[in-house]
């Protein structure tokens, strides 16, 4: 027994609406797409039936015939860490505003060697563009480039090297680190250590470079023992700072690769009765919403991760609508400037 035409059990289709209105499905389609060539009376009757039936056109069928899905594919990693959710916030908001839906995939780790399945799954759903929001680390970006089946939808890469041969949006990590270190120098620090992120991450590398460059510019080229490795987590930051106290006991300033690791420095310092900022000034990176409330409040580098997401969506949609490109334009590379936020953890004997 067919239940077609039974709007009680099944979701109504365009046919149900047409039958109830006594017109063809084309007419319904015209009303749905706000075409002008429908008589006002017909239009009104159709709209009424649509409303009464609670009819909702199938985005699937529409995508299939139009070859447009109005859907973006988002690839992320590390949801359990801070940061990505802010970017996602910007992405979701902008996508919604532009009438796009979001298909989201989370990678099991940051540096996945085989992303084929993820990309293919997104492509199977006809996403019009893909935003690769996992930061560049190891070969992950290049893997994506080489593994993406052609023809491949436009892609935007977030938080990595501003390569000129594809679309990227990045934060200027070098500049952020330089600002942080420069600030410590300005505060009178002469022995500035760095707790870096994993050195296969582009962001960690850039931050380390920025620190290095600022010290060199100040004629204080750093030695290896001034830099300790973390993995972004607070516990790794704790270990890194302990090793720094061993390798570089004269340290009077620390630039940590992120706020979580900086927090551990504050924690260990409190334990060891090292006075902050008097004996040790500390600067982080990220400006988490809690960092103004660390004890002492944390000087840090603010990066607008939300805007990163907003811009990514804008860029992606722009690429979708762009006439076929031959040779990417330079404007495909966007770099966002970070900002120094000065708080108590770095202010020697002064007040804010």
């Amino acid at each position: 027994m067919s239940t077609r035409g039974n709007p009680i059990n099944n979701k109504p289709t365009i046919k149900d609406v047409a039958r109830l209105c006594g017109v063809s499905t084309q007419t319904i389609s015209r009303v749905l797409n706000k075409r002008p060539d429908v008589s006002p009376e017909t239009r009104e009757r159709v709209l009424e039936v649509i409303n009464q039936l609670g009819y909702q056109p199938s985005a699937l069928a529409r995508s299939l015939i139009q070859q447009r899905s109005y859907t973006l594919g988002i690839i992320i990693a590390g949801l359990k860490y801070a940061g990505i959710s802010l970017t996602l916030n910007g992405i979701a908001e902008q996508a919604d505003q532009e009438g796009y839906s979001l298909l989201i995939k989370e990678l099991p780790s940051f540096d996945v060697s085989d992303v084929q399945p993820v990309i293919r799954s997104l492509m199977a759903h006809q996403v019009e563009a893909i935003i690769y929001a996992a930061p560049e680390c190891g070969n992950n970006w290049r893997n994506v480039q080489s593994q993406c089946p052609r023809p491949c939808p436009p892609m935007v890469f977030l938080k990595g090297n501003p390569y000129s041969d594809f679309s990227t949006i990045s934060i200027d990590n070098f500049m952020g680190a330089y600002l942080a270190t420069r600030h410590l120098l300005d505060q009178g620090c002469h022995h500035i250590a760095h707790i870096s992120g994993p050195m296969d991450w582009w962001e960690a590398i850039e931050r380390e470079k920025g620190w290095h460059a600022a010290l060199e510019d100040a004629k204080l080229p750093p030695e290896d023992r001034q830099c300790a490795l973390g993995n972004w987590s607070s516990s790794s930051g704790e270990r890194a700072f302990y090793s720094l106290l061993e390798s570089y006991p004269e340290v009077d300033g620390v630039f940590a690769g992120n706020d979580q690791m900086a927090l551990s420095v504050l924690y260990v310092a409190a334990k060891k009765k090292i006075k902050i900022p008097e004996q040790l000034a500390v600067v982080g990176f990220d400006d988490l919403s809690e960092s103004p409330y660390y004890s002492p409040s944390l000087t840090t580098i603010r990066q607008d991760l939300r805007m990163l997401g907003t811009m990514a969506v804008k860029k992606a949609i722009e690429m979708v609508n762009e006439p076929v490109v031959t040779g990417d334009s330079l404007s495909d590379t966007i770099v966002i400037k970070p900002q120094l936020i000065v708080r108590e953890s770095s202010l020697f004997g002064r007040t804010l």
Copy 2:
């Protein structure tokens, strides 16, 4: 001019594969769906062509004909706050494991009165179930219930009252708060204050109730001045604690509604030279990954938000596959127990 059959410009379809193999599309379909009734040689040839063409079946077309999308709709809110991303992490992982895709919508605020457009958009994409991952506050859950067009896909609600008439998965906030307060009493506190979240949030209400109940059970029924209102943010926690110091100067223990607000208590205490835990014991709620590194490390209530996401997906898929239900089973209501994590902020004169 048609470019059909030109696998260079257009994505290859099942027809392209069929033509190149010299068989019907049906045979290709059989291979794709791993049906047994294909000769080994044919299968092999088909697979080879598929590979060579980089052919990827259209999930859209498949969803349309099968009336199954293998897609879940996720509704979230407040990505910029901590917590939801962990749940999303659990959701994404479990969905991936079960072969489901995720269509995600973020609400502009927690308590949105008109969710129709969001639900309709998800339904237009034929999602098989919807996970409403925004915590219950105000009338948001009831609004969803009443506004959802019928027939409506199965829905799972996260972080709210365990209503028995639809599927919910919640943390036992009352128990968490009770544990926290009980612990403060055990530590010898007699003047235990509470910094609550907004009182139109179910979670805030439950936590307040748990605190209240624990004090009553200890024959110390709290007065109004012992409770201050926050909005989950650190800055609101700061204001709340200042007002508490006014209204309830004898306070010797604080149970804060979340870790961010607890952090502010530590911050203000440090400023005012209030010794923690000697003069004031503090307990938070959430167990953020940073809270072991606050100064002092924060005693808190751990809730497994990641598992919440995992269970939500399992439940949603279960409901999809469930034969038509008449009267929801009681097992639709799942409550997860939280756990007390004791750290320095509440340990009077003892060590861990």
